[in-house]
Subunit: 224 residues, 2 copies
């Protein structure tokens, strides 16, 4: 995988990708489809010049990315206080085996969002948390217990506006350099791609739920 | 998933996790096993106070994390110039359905490494790149063309020393609050975990490789 270039500071479009134009897709619809297919984001925050990159569960909700953490977390209090962040979601779809190692890469879809998150409170926070739960576990919010006031107090829920986003997609066959398609032995080796897929395994009930029928909504996961 | 706390600036152990002790594993062996099971890292870099989080293919090599990018990338030139970074690898292993949404989470394994990467050159760079390729595509370096001088010139290869690392692992059954195990209707709902697994799909040859037998090393991927 080739990483994206960073634009010059002060550029009006910090997140526009300037290199690898064939791997750049600008449509917001594509970005949202990638975000909606993801569960995990990596969020950056700077403390005393040191970047930290932290995994969070997330969901897109309208034009926001929603994520949450502990009120006791310095990362989250820093973000809630208005620190700039970068939220990146990357889905790896496969390996690309070119005839050269240099042109070998991955199939992937990635969205990067820059901005300042906004802390959600009150009913807005509850709605965002339910949306996040429903994104991660479709059907579950109708059955599981909703957050209590003391749980909300222990939680910082953030909404990052998806104003400044970039998308990168790597797909298709290997992009070999012309000589490798002619010169032996490389011209004759196998080349192509190997998909990587994610699937749900067999659900495992905890001790108290042994014998409780698996909910239909869980059975349907991964069958869409 | 609950995100990690950030220690106080100036702490001698920036990456020690202080909360969620049951999810913290300190052994370096565990960290290395997680890194060795990963392909994708998210790397943070700060430009003018703005954090960027960029996906990179990576491999552990001894006590370093190896990753590479374009010599034309501002991210990579910034890192090569000695900027502090954070490299995070997260593997999602499943969803945890507790009786409350608050206690619901993910099974995951995550490693965070802080430090300043070192640019590799000469034979050291070539060896690191071959190691990276072999990690991502075991067996491939014996067959595919190795990097040419002009390809190395277009590449920045970085080694981040794994001196300052932290590990977080979320596993096991849901950790429900006691009342949810007694109070109806929540005490009677299904609870447990749903694994998420990654698998290789059917390899797809490119046009020129149609009819070329699939290499044995590719056939063996995912069968270990």
């Amino acid at each position: 995988m080739t990483t994206s270039d960073l634009p010059a500071p002060g550029s009006t479009a910090r997140t526009r990708i300037r290199r690898l134009p064939d791997k750049t897709v600008t449509e917001r619809e594509v970005a949202y489809a990638i975000l909606d297919a993801g569960r995990l984001a990596h969020v950056g925050v700077v403390v005393d010049g040191q970047p930290y990159v932290v995994p969070v569960a997330f969901a897109r909700r309208g034009d926001d990315a929603i994520f949450h953490g502990s009120s006791a977390s310095r990362l989250f209090t820093t973000l809630a206080a208005g620190a700039p962040t970068c939220l990146t979601v990357t889905l790896v779809d496969g390996l690309v085996l070119a005839r050269s190692l240099f042109e070998s890469s991955m199939h992937y879809r990635s969205v990067m969002a820059l901005g300042v998150p906004r802390r959600l409170t009150g009913e807005e926070e509850v709605e965002a948390l339910l949306h996040l739960s429903e994104h991660l576990m479709p059907g579950r919010t109708a059955e599981a217990r909703h957050p209590l006031p003391q749980e909300l107090k222990a939680t910082i829920t953030l909404a990052l506006p998806l104003d400044e986003i970039s998308v990168k997609v790597g797909d298709g066959p290997p992009d070999d350099v012309p000589t490798d398609l002619v010169d032996e032995p490389f011209a004759s080796i196998w080349a192509g791609s190997v998909p990587i897929r994610e699937a749900f395994g067999e659900p495992l009930a905890d001790d108290q739920a042994t014998g409780v029928p698996l909910p239909a909504y869980v059975e349907n996961w991964g069958r869409a």
